[in-house]
């Protein structure tokens, strides 16, 4: 079924999306090439190496730690039966709803010298001052690694678990029959089979880590991201900031390249329908409780403790923190998150489908172009988005001059700018999730559908989409939750009188008074939980 090499509508669509979503970056790169930058060479000579090293350590640390947390969890919940498993299965996604900077704040409050933990220790052991004993300092690079991994591991957990569920069960059963221990089967069968999904998830996690600003800034850990901010807002040099973003883009390309290489080796197309409650391993006795304990530990540290502390704040500061505007902020947050996740799902579906139906050297490019926005820190992205949008706005105003209507900032001064920026930023998440689901659908299904007289479009809507339901939902859900938490881009692109929960919370966090915004912070979590629950339920029913 080789299509002619003329422009197909799929091709046009995919390229339009790819180019459209990478325009902001193109503007930024253009900016980076503007002349030499004295500021950049000064940074190069002084601190840039420290920043780069910190960034590499941070990303490596978060990736390794997330893997240590998420892989066992994914395997346990996909293949084993143990006490509380049905609850853990969805509960382990909960930390996704917490912004990293909030848990960083909460844990700092809990664990620093003046926090309840150390005070209690001092009372117990009669220590007098900070010189009498050693206690780890959370506001360090390792501390930042732990905080970020705790809220990002669910990406890997979710994607890995889905991959295991969609893998051929028979292979794992066969490995059992051949006398492999669960551990052997995990390392020799499950892991290699899901390598593509794992690498995709880790690529997401590393990009997300790279874009984190609030947490590392709060912990005073200097990374390339903080350097971009300093350079642009301190040295007022967008050119130098764009050059530093260029270094970050190199990292991104490495991440994407790794992901692609891992995909190449993966050609397992077998779809197992009705993977439901069959489980391979019954963990009874102490093994079951060990599994329960591990899940409980992660869940407590990453979710229950921080949320408990937030509840405690909310209880004590209720008078000051209760604010009738919440519902309005929550509604506005929901509104924008919903728009963005639907758009991201649709465009990623189109692009990935194009990659599938017209495989060739160049077909992967639109998707890769479109994914580049992800590694840009929110503030930089916001500016990168404003560059082309204001240009269009200006041209439009010039063109309409004298027609009696002045549109003003039609694109850059409205919600459009925010939605566009979010789609640019989170497209990669949707793309990754949709792509890894598509990979598992055997091409023979497409051929069957085509030979039965269905067109490309019908194949997509009637054959693929039902099969992809879970992958699409996962994609939409991840994007939705990210939108709820997104801060820097929101701060810079908000139209007048538009607040999201995140921006509302941030004005207090930046003043070290999270207590006063504890209820809004809880709202972010709560609103993130609703879709988590909903998606989980629909998956259950689907099974």
């Amino acid at each position: 079924m080789q299509l002619k090499q003329s422009l197909s509508p799929w091709q046009c669509m995919a390229w339009l999306i790819g180019i459209g979503l990478s325009i902001p970056l193109a503007f930024l790169i253009f900016e980076a090439l503007q002349g030499e930058s004295e500021v950049f060479s000064h940074l190069w000579q002084s601190v840039l190496w420290d920043y780069t090293r910190n960034t590499i350590v941070l990303i490596a640390g978060v990736v390794v730690l997330s893997a240590f947390i998420a892989l066992p969890l994914g395997w346990l919940t996909a293949y084993c039966r143990f006490p509380g498993k049905r609850v853990f299965e969805w509960a382990l996604m909960l930390p996704l709803a917490l912004p990293a900077y909030i848990i960083a704040y909460v844990y700092t409050d809990l664990l620093d010298y003046a926090g309840p933990v150390q005070i209690w220790l001092r009372q117990q052991f009669g220590w007098q001052g900070p010189d009498d004993y050693w206690f780890f300092d959370l506001r360090t690079l390792p501390g930042a690694i732990v905080m970020i991994a705790l809220v990002l591991y669910p990406y890997l957990y979710l994607i890995f678990k889905t991959a295991l569920r969609e893998q051929s069960f028979k292979l794992v059963q066969a490995s059992q029959l051949m006398g492999m221990s669960p551990a052997q089967s995990f390392f020799k069968v499950s892991l290699p089979l899901s390598r593509g999904a794992i690498v995709a998830a880790l690529a997401l996690i590393s990009m997300e880590t790279m874009a984190d600003f609030a947490t590392v800034h709060y912990f005073a850990v200097s990374t390339l991201t903080t350097a971009v901010y300093d350079t642009w807002l301190g040295y007022y040099s967008l050119t130098a900031a764009a050059k530093i973003s260029g270094i970050m883009l190199l990292f991104l390309f490495v991440a994407l390249l790794l992901e692609r290489m891992s995909r190449k080796t993966q050609v397992v197309h077998e779809r197992q329908s009705g993977v439901n409650d069959t489980h391979l391993y019954d963990l009874t006795g102490y093994q079951g409780w060990l599994a329960w304990g591990f899940c409980m530990l992660i869940l407590s540290v990453a979710f229950f403790v921080p949320v408990g502390i937030l509840l405690n704040y909310a209880w004590h500061y209720f008078e000051q923190a209760w604010n009738a505007e919440f519902f309005n902020y929550a509604l506005q947050s929901l509104q924008i998150s919903l728009y963005v996740s639907v758009i991201a799902m649709l465009v990623s579906l189109l692009v990935v489908y194009y990659q599938r139906i017209e495989p060739g050297k160049l077909t992967n490019l639109p998707g890769r172009f479109a994914s580049t926005g992800y590694a840009l820190p929110g503030t930089v992205l916001a500016i990168a988005v404003l560059l082309p949008l204001t240009l269009i706005d200006t041209k439009l105003n010039e063109w309409l001059d004298g027609s009696g209507f002045e549109p003003g900032l039609l694109l850059s001064g409205t919600l459009f700018a925010m939605i566009f920026a979010y789609v640019v930023r989170f497209y990669a998440i949707a793309h990754g999730a949709v792509e890894s689901s598509f990979v598992r659908i055997s091409p023979s299904i497409d051929m069957a559908s085509l030979s039965l007289g269905k067109g490309r479009f019908q194949t997509l809507t009637q054959v693929h989409m039902p099969l992809l339901k879970r992958g699409l939902l996962t994609a939409g859900l991840l994007v939705f939750i990210e939108c709820m938490k997104e801060l820097p881009a929101a701060l810079l692109l908000r139209p007048f009188n538009f607040e999201t929960l995140a921006t509302h919370v941030y004005q207090y966090v930046s003043d070290e008074q999270l207590e006063l915004a504890s209820i809004s912070a809880l709202f972010i979590v709560l609103v993130g939980l609703v879709p988590l629950y909903w998606v989980n339920r629909s998956m259950e029913q689907h099974n």
């Binding site: 007022y236 105003n397 900032l409 009188n497 207090y508």
Partner: protein
Amino acid sequence: MKSAIATLLAAVTSLSAVAADEVNIYSYRQPFLIQPILDDFTKQTGIKTNVVFAKKGLIERVKREGKHGRADLVLTSNFSAMIQLEELGLTNPIDSDTVDKNIPASFRDPDGHWVALTKRVRNVYSSKDRAGKLTSLSYEELADPKYKGKICTRSGKHPYNLGLVASMIAHHGEAETKTWLQGVKANLARKPQGNDRAQVKAVKEGLCDLALGNSYYFGKMLEDSKQKAWADAVYINFPNQSDRGSHLNVSGVVMTKYSKNKENALKLIEFMTDNKAQNMYASMNMEYPVKPGVELSKLVASWGTFKEDSLPLSEISKYRPMALKLIDEVKFDL
């Protein structure tokens, strides 16, 4: 064709319907600080205020939006932001007798490109138990080895610290300031982190004996049930009283060049320089009002009078880029 499109656009956007009686504000200051003042302004004049708050990047946004931007005013929390806007040619001169009458000449741009609204001092807080009151302390002394491992501060790149370093360059030159910075860095009890409040907390905890911080935080902490204990553990000291005086920073306002509501913007600026708003700044935010004769809050007044560094802000701000460069060169934050 063109008119059809124009009509269509007008129909689907409400943007063209700019209400006659409003003023749009980009604010570097948190809404909860300025909202009461804005509410009062609306009550008096009927002019609606719309705010976008952000900690970073508003200047850049004004710059990108250019002549179609909707911001009429930018409220800043330090002088360098205002001067940056002026240098970019994004300001509109504030021409008002009321403002000129209310604000002393040293606290506004000669051509009216910016106006300071409140003053704050860069103080040194000292532990009551371990350091006592330091009446004769100077910023220069913070580099003295006797304070090794005893000083806490927020990031050197924060505008408040950059302002201080810039003023050191203005008084002592680049080389001497670099040596001073290296000395202060060697005296730090921990890597620069947190905000000004967090430094006072660290003194209370015994992590350090001295901390740099702005004056108004001290007042605000005394009002906060949780933070009162931190503030109670320290004395507030005004450095360099025996020579040039303490370093001042200001918060302020500029009118944007392309403001569509210049009249309303001017009304708001005038309102902010007048007794009522200046009083609110003084009583609610514990800042020093810029308008002479406006009463300080009781608490702030109790800290006593002090000598201010009289070097003009516009002079100090010239050295801000150099200050930032030095902070990087000595790796102050790392």
